[in-house]
């Protein structure tokens, strides 16, 4: 009997919650429209951008034509056959993405290096490639031939790109000119993003989808308790505190599910890559969204004023960004912060989305994924319990 009455009260409270949500139509529209709009804009820019084709502008300096003194034989070599081969290949565009912008011959211009460094400082070039004096001699005599590359270290991406591109370039140089014997590495990527998919969207989806869902769920619920003036009066009626909260969880969950569906639909239009089950992806996103909702309701219950709730929202959101692993890998963090990071959703959400989208793993078929999913659910349960406890103990003035 009690259960039936309670259920009936929750239904009525649900009706009240929806009336409240419907009351601010613009807010409801924003809640549903903003995440798909943002992911669409990001996906669109991803489609029209050309990451693979962006050139790295280079300045090449050769010292190879300078004499190289070989002390063991007391001889000076003036061999510069291989640097011209390398520079010709460079000039003919045989090295992917590396674009020869400026060429210096150190035997003609003693200030070549100084000038190239000025080019690097003024962003005329992103990389200086320096062919040393003994380059041709080293290749002919069977020594390791070293090409120095000096990337603009102020941009970590340039360092990484230039290293990879120079590695490819040296391989092409050695292979094309049949400098033997070579020991080559033949790579075979698996579980990657297929050529026809939107690579930017695919890589970023593992972090951008959870961010959008959590962000919008947090804002959906952050003011729902602290802002609702009639709650104290509501509690004079037979409605129980647990029922008031349950109605809030259910009503906001329905909005959250709609947000997830819309976001994934729009992301798919712009090439979201999902090799696994779409049902698993939705389940994962619902759990992530539910985390955002639980966090929002907890903050709303803790806060005495709307300003406090908003400040806590910013604090929580900024901490989530800092400890998400997006900029600094969680494994590189201080041990205390690693513990905090594992209390936040991204430590579970990113591998969850990544494994479903790239490796086609299932939440209920893969134990690791299952425990990542459960990790989020357990944290949600703890937050619901805390919210209920605080809501129950909180003083309400009618």
């Amino acid at each position: 009997m009690g259960l039936k009455e309670s259920f009936s009260r929750i239904i009525k409270l649900l009706y009240k919650e929806f009336s409240l949500i419907k009351g601010d139509k613009r807010a409801l529209f924003m809640a549903l429209a903003l995440p798909p709009l943002i992911i669409s804009a990001f996906g669109f820019v991803g489609v029209i951008s050309d990451i693979e084709g962006t050139p790295i502008n280079c300045a090449v300096i050769t010292y190879d034509s300078l004499g190289y003194y070989y002390p063991q034989y007391n001889t000076t070599y003036y061999n510069s056959t291989w640097d011209s081969v390398f520079i010709n290949m460079f000039n003919n565009g045989q090295f992917p993405r590396l674009k020869l912008k400026i060429f210096y011959n150190a035997s003609e211009d003693p200030y070549s290096m100084h000038e190239a460094r000025l080019d690097l400082a003024s962003d005329k070039v992103d990389l200086i490639i320096l062919i040393p004096a003994e380059f041709s001699e080293a290749i002919d005599l069977g020594f390791p031939a070293i090409i120095d590359n000096i990337p603009d270290g102020s941009n970590i991406e340039t360092i990484k790109d230039s290293l990879n591109l120079m590695y490819t370039a040296t391989n092409i140089f050695v292979e094309t000119n049949n400098i033997t014997p070579q020991i080559n590495m033949n790579s075979r990527p698996v579980y990657g993003v297929p050529q026809n998919a939107n690579e930017i969207m695919a890589w970023a989806s593992t972090i951008s989808l959870p961010f959008l869902i959590i962000g919008s769920c947090l804002t959906l619920t952050i003011l729902s308790v602290v802002n609702e003036k009639p709650i104290p009066r509501l509690l004079i009626t037979p409605a129980k505190k647990g029922e008031v909260l349950a109605a809030k969880y259910i009503a906001n969950s329905i909005i959250m599910i709609a947000q997830c569906v819309l976001t994934v639909t729009f992301a798919s239009i712009f090439g979201l890559y999902i090799s696994g089950s779409i049902v698993d992806l939705f389940l994962a996103l619902f759990a992530i969204g539910f985390y955002g909702m639980c966090m929002g309701l907890l903050i709303s219950t803790i806060s005495d004023t709307e300003t406090q709730a908003n400040q806590l929202l910013v604090a929580v959101f900024l901490i989530m960004i800092l400890l998400s692993g997006m900029f600094i890998d969680i494994s590189n963090m201080n041990i205390v912060l690693q513990v905090i990071a594992y209390g936040l959703p991204f430590a579970y959400a990113v591998p969850l989305i990544s494994e479903i989208c790239f490796k086609a793993k299932g939440i209920f078929t893969n134990p690791t994924l299952f425990w990542n999913f459960m990790g989020i659910i357990i944290i949600c349960m703890v937050m619901i319990f805390l919210t209920y406890l605080i809501f129950k103990l909180k003083r309400k003035e009618v």
Binding site: M30, P35, V45, G46, I51, L120, A121, G142, P144, A145, I147, D148, N149, G153, S154, E157, L163, M166, Y167, A169, T170, F173, V174, T180, P181, Q182, I183, N184, S187, R188, P189, V190, Y191, G192, W203, A204, F211, G215, S216, T219, L220, L223, E306, T307, Q308, Q311, L313, A315, F317, L318, L323, F327, I328, D329, S331, N332, M333, N334, S354, K359
Partner: protein, 387 residues
């Protein structure tokens, strides 16, 4: 002017009244900067976990010669970039298929990659020792987990180190051409490199996040504002007063972030004052974004939704996910007009390159602030208010 001064005083009175919130305003950047400072305390983890499977003893051209197999395996075991455990070294004498390498691997080895226990599987083919012995070209294979962007972007270079160790072991450098990196304007090795490379984007995000929040509710949540409009107080002055007073609070927040990041060993090659100017400029742009959000919104929930939406949008288009150079011209222009993009670039130029402030980028930020401020005033002027 007198009215503006009075309005500024009123704003400060409002801010000071809620002591709890006032403390939180300064505590928030402090907490975030402490977390930022400690977030890279674990040191570098830059190795790739690997498994190795050798088919070198499999018969090739009638021989099962495998004298170089153990040297190659040892090169991987001794590598500083590839982390190979001796219990993850497998030897097989049959089953190699170079057209379907991954599919032909034994299930237990494939499972290591699928479960994420290793990032890469190195495969030594049946003809490896034979080709090394005859001094002809040899090929090694590696299958890597391409679902991890970090692995995809750096595994190729890391795989070169064991090859060099092998060359050293067999004393044969013929055909070796190496590209040796010596970055310029990088973070010195005695500084915390992880922290400093992410400092530009993270500090700018902290400043933007806290400053947008300062003003995102300043108009929409002020109950007595419509009634105040019945007094001689002017709407333009009301918005300007909010901008000035919250900018003062933001400047203190920027100082907290500035000194906090210094305490955690921020590497700045250029002028420290320039860094502070960048932080304040970005903070001012955050204050103006918040004001605009507050003027557009008709309820606090809307303001919050717009705040988070705009904040995520700014992060996604900051250049951290899509490099600006790879975008088409129109998208580049749009990204370059955002204060976050200019702020990050200015921060990098001053902190790592030691350059002075790029006046063009500073002007872009100032124009951005001015445009948003004018938009806020215009929207506020036409806003319907019910007393």
């Amino acid at each position: 002017m007198y009215s503006l001064w009075n309005l500024i005083k009123k704003e400060f009175d409002r801010i000071i009244t809620d002591r709890k919130s006032l403390i939180m305003l300064f505590l928030l950047p402090l907490i975030t900067i402490i977390i930022f400072g400690l977030s890279s305390g674990g040191g570098y983890i830059s190795t790739f976990d690997a498994a190795l499977i050798s088919y070198d003893s499999q018969s090739w051209n009638g021989t099962s010669y495998n004298n170089y197999e153990s040297t190659m395996i040892n090169s991987y075991l001794n590598s500083s970039l590839i982390n190979l455990n001796s219990n993850l070294v497998f030897t097989e004498s049959s089953g190699f298929n170079d057209s379907k390498i991954f599919n032909s691997l034994p299930p237990k080895v494939k499972l290591l990659l699928y479960n994420g226990d290793v990032a890469v599987i190195v495969v030594i083919p049946p003809n490896f020792s034979e080709t090394v012995n005859k001094s002809i070209n040899s090929v090694l294979y590696y299958v890597y987990d391409a679902s991890d962007l970090m692995t995809t972007s750096s595994i190729g270079v890391s795989m070169q180190e064991p090859l060099l160790l092998f060359r050293v072991a067999i004393s044969n450098f013929k055909g070796v051409v190496l590209a040796f990196p010596s970055p310029e304007y990088d973070v010195p090795s005695w500084y915390n490199q992880i922290l400093n490379y992410s400092a530009a984007i993270l500090i700018i995000i902290i400043i933007l996040g806290t400053s947008i929040n300062l003003t995102a509710l300043s108009v929409v949540s002020e109950g007595p504002l419509p009634r105040m409009m019945l007094t001689p107080a002017n709407k333009t002055n009301t918005v300007l007063a909010k901008f000035i007073s919250y900018s003062a609070i933001m400047t203190v927040q920027a100082l907290v972030v500035f000194f906090g990041s210094m305490a955690f060993g921020l590497y700045v090659l250029g002028n420290l004052i320039d860094i502070l100017i960048v932080l304040i400029l970005v903070g001012l742009s955050g204050v103006s974004i918040g004001l605009l959000i507050s003027c557009i919104s008709t309820s606090e929930q809307q303001a919050n939704q717009l705040y988070i939406g705009v904040f995520i949008f700014l992060i996604l288009f900051s250049g951290a996910f899509i490099p600006l150079e790879s975008m088409p011209a129109a998208a580049q222009m749009f990204s370059n007009s955002l204060s976050i993009t200019n702020g990050i670039q200015l921060f990098l130029d001053v902190s790592l390159k030691g350059m002075s402030l790029d006046l063009l980028r500073v002007s872009f930020i100032l124009i951005f602030i001015l445009v948003l401020l004018i938009a806020s005033i215009v929207i506020f002027r036409f806003r319907k208010m019910e007393v």
